[in-house]
Assembly symmetry: C2
Homo-oligomer: 191 residues x 2
Amino acid sequence: MHERVSADRGAIDPVPLDHEAKALEAPAEHAAELRLWLRLLTLTTMIEGEVRRRLRERFDVTLPRFDLMAQLVRAPDGMTLSDVSKRMMVSNGNVTGLVERLVESGHVDRRVSETDRRAQVIRLTEEGRAAFRAMAVEHEAWIAEMLGGLDAGESEALMGLLGTVKASTRAAIDANARPRTDRNAATGGPR
Amino acid sequence: MHERVSADRGAIDPVPLDHEAKALEAPAEHAAELRLWLRLLTLTTMIEGEVRRRLRERFDVTLPRFDLMAQLVRAPDGMTLSDVSKRMMVSNGNVTGLVERLVESGHVDRRVSETDRRAQVIRLTEEGRAAFRAMAVEHEAWIAEMLGGLDAGESEALMGLLGTVKASTRAAIDANARPRTDRNAATGGPR
DNA sequence: GCCTGATATTTGAAGCTTAAAACAAGCCGC
DNA sequence: GCGGCTTGTTTTAAGCTTCAAATATCAGGC
């Protein structure tokens, strides 16, 4: 069945009643979470859109390319495409195309791994590094400007709360992704 | 992460902007905002990705279509494409294509406005409404599950903090979008 | 050596997304 | 009612993104 991830931390839970019928569940129960999610999404969309717009306007570069370069700048020894894919939380195929274009524009260098002939190791070129540094300076200022409405204490509090949500989100995702402990089942089923 | 790279061998640095001096004077100060932004983005990406995955798996529907239907369900009298575009914070052209596919699949009804022959008024069809209701029930549960790590007080606090950031973000965007001609302001020209 | 399963990447199809230009219709001052 | 500005929508080109299938390589067991 379904594991109930309880969030009660010692507090009295007023009548852990009816999770009976989905069709009858009170919308008011989850309204707070929905509003929270909506606000989170709206805020992120706003910031992301503005960053995208400014990157294009000031540097004629797309946000995904900037993000990819931001990953690479921290890895002077390079990363494989899989690494990048995991870090950026996008699909492998996506990274393939992105890297292709960055190699083409001279920002990224790509070579076959010396230890694994399946893998590609990519690095920033010198031009790529220089270009990214220039962009990063402004990008940092933009973020500070947009997120500047909080004092230090609020900032820390927000960081912590987001961390909490991140943890529960990860738990929810993991719980959902692992419904089968048995992994042979070669007799049929989808795929 | 970032050192004081003194690659600038000219007078690039000496803080020319009075009203932004505060934001530019302490680079170390920006690390907190960057981390905050990164966490915000990561969290949103995680949730969004999982919702997209489940919508596809359970209902064979894409997230943008679900979002559009979520807008329409609140407007029984319909909305114009422009309205939808603003509410969803996506481009007009985007909405055109999205609506096209939703009309095709029978979820949305589209007709020319009676008061403005330029405008299209779109509504959910009965099928669209039914389909959305079914999806919304589960969607709500998913969100509650993922965001369930907070108690009521934390939830409220997070809501408030996000609101604060949203306000400062909007201010930053508005300020940037206004290239005053009457004022001598630096228009971002070459320095 | 040869299977078998896992990992790294690419490819292909479909759809999403944006920016910019084109087009259509409303609005307004004269 | 004629210009000229604004607003609503579509179109186009380019790029992003996912999922699923295909390819290639690796790592062990025999």
